[in-house]
Subunit: 201 residues, 2 copies
């Protein structure tokens, strides 16, 4: 998705060979128009898949699940990272290890909001190690729902997430696939000329 | 907002005199069309206030901040509840005590995304004790930004949140104001006939 790759080149900040900060427009401050464009792109890619529900995980997946839900005219659900007092009913759950935060947390989703009649599109902001997305795939399978695929905004193609998901038989579509990066430059799959971006500030 | 009050009557589940579950359509599963309507209503209420940015807190405020940002054609930002590895720069911060979770957490927002030139609309899903919203007001003031007001989707008018915010000189607008509730019935401000809703399931 060219509009997205352009914004990553213009505003992304590469902190190391693995950490890309996009919090000026995607996951802290959010450009609502860009988020809607991202949702329309997911909508276009999965238009003929009979999606009934978009699934994501709090927090930074919510804006893209909402945008995809708008485009596909379906509700979205977000898995929670901690069991809340008001979430006392039976839940689907999976364990997820966050390499960014170096902690393991439980992801849960009410059984009321996903079931065998659903066709699900999973959406998230980043695909890197794939840990959170594997947890969401497990939840979809536990629910007996059909998984149409995983849509990611940005994929770090040099990490193992895509392989893990594809080994589970999951179709993965990322809107911007980074093949490699280092402070000062970033390469996208299908567009591999090095482009200089801002260094760590 | 009649559409919202109707949905609360139809689908809200009252667990006690203070706990209302709306997670089938607002904050776990999200009806994207309703969320967009809520955003349009915030947009209408604050249309002439020169808003430059919508501010909320992760996670369940995000869908409504996004909807308000869409309606007002401005970006939104969400304060985070935990300092992440990729959020190393200087932040505005405030302490918030969650009565639901019985814990105190730090709310933080990058200084890059709010400043003296901003006119801010704060949005959240619930106004109850007001703790999270008071924290967001403190962040807006620390940033030197102008606060146009607070927009809440549902207000529990029998809790102290509105008074706390109004004592700080903040304009509060809630789309559904509950004056009282108990398992089996709910009363809204301006529409005080008791209406029977689903009891705890």
């Amino acid at each position: 998705m060219k509009e997205l790759e352009d914004r990553i080149r213009q505003e992304g900040v590469i902190l190391s060979d693995t950490v890309l900060k996009v919090d000026s427009f995607l996951n802290h401050q959010v450009d609502t128009e860009l988020a809607l464009s991202i949702g329309r792109e997911f909508g276009r890619l999965f238009a003929d898949r009979g999606i009934t529900k978009v699934l994501t995980i709090e927090a930074s997946g919510i804006q893209f699940a909402m945008a995809a839900g708008i485009a596909l005219k379906v509700p979205f659900v977000y898995a929670k990272k901690k069991k809340a007092v008001t979430l006392a009913e039976q839940v689907y759950s999976a364990s997820v290890h966050s390499f960014t935060r170096q902690e393991t947390y439980q992801v849960s989703l009410s059984r009321n909001y996903l079931g065998p009649n659903d066709r699900v599109l999973i959406v998230d902001d980043f695909l890197a190690t794939g840990a959170a997305l594997v947890g969401l795939v497990q939840i979809v399978r536990e629910a007996g729902a059909e998984l149409a695929g995983v849509g990611c905004v940005i994929e770090k193609g040099f990490q193992e997430g895509r392989r893990l998901l594809e080994d589970m038989g999951v179709h993965v579509h990322s809107l911007a696939r980074i093949s490699s990066m280092a402070p000062g430059e970033i390469h996208f799959v299908d567009n591999d000329a090095p482009i200089h971006v801002k260094e760590k500030v």
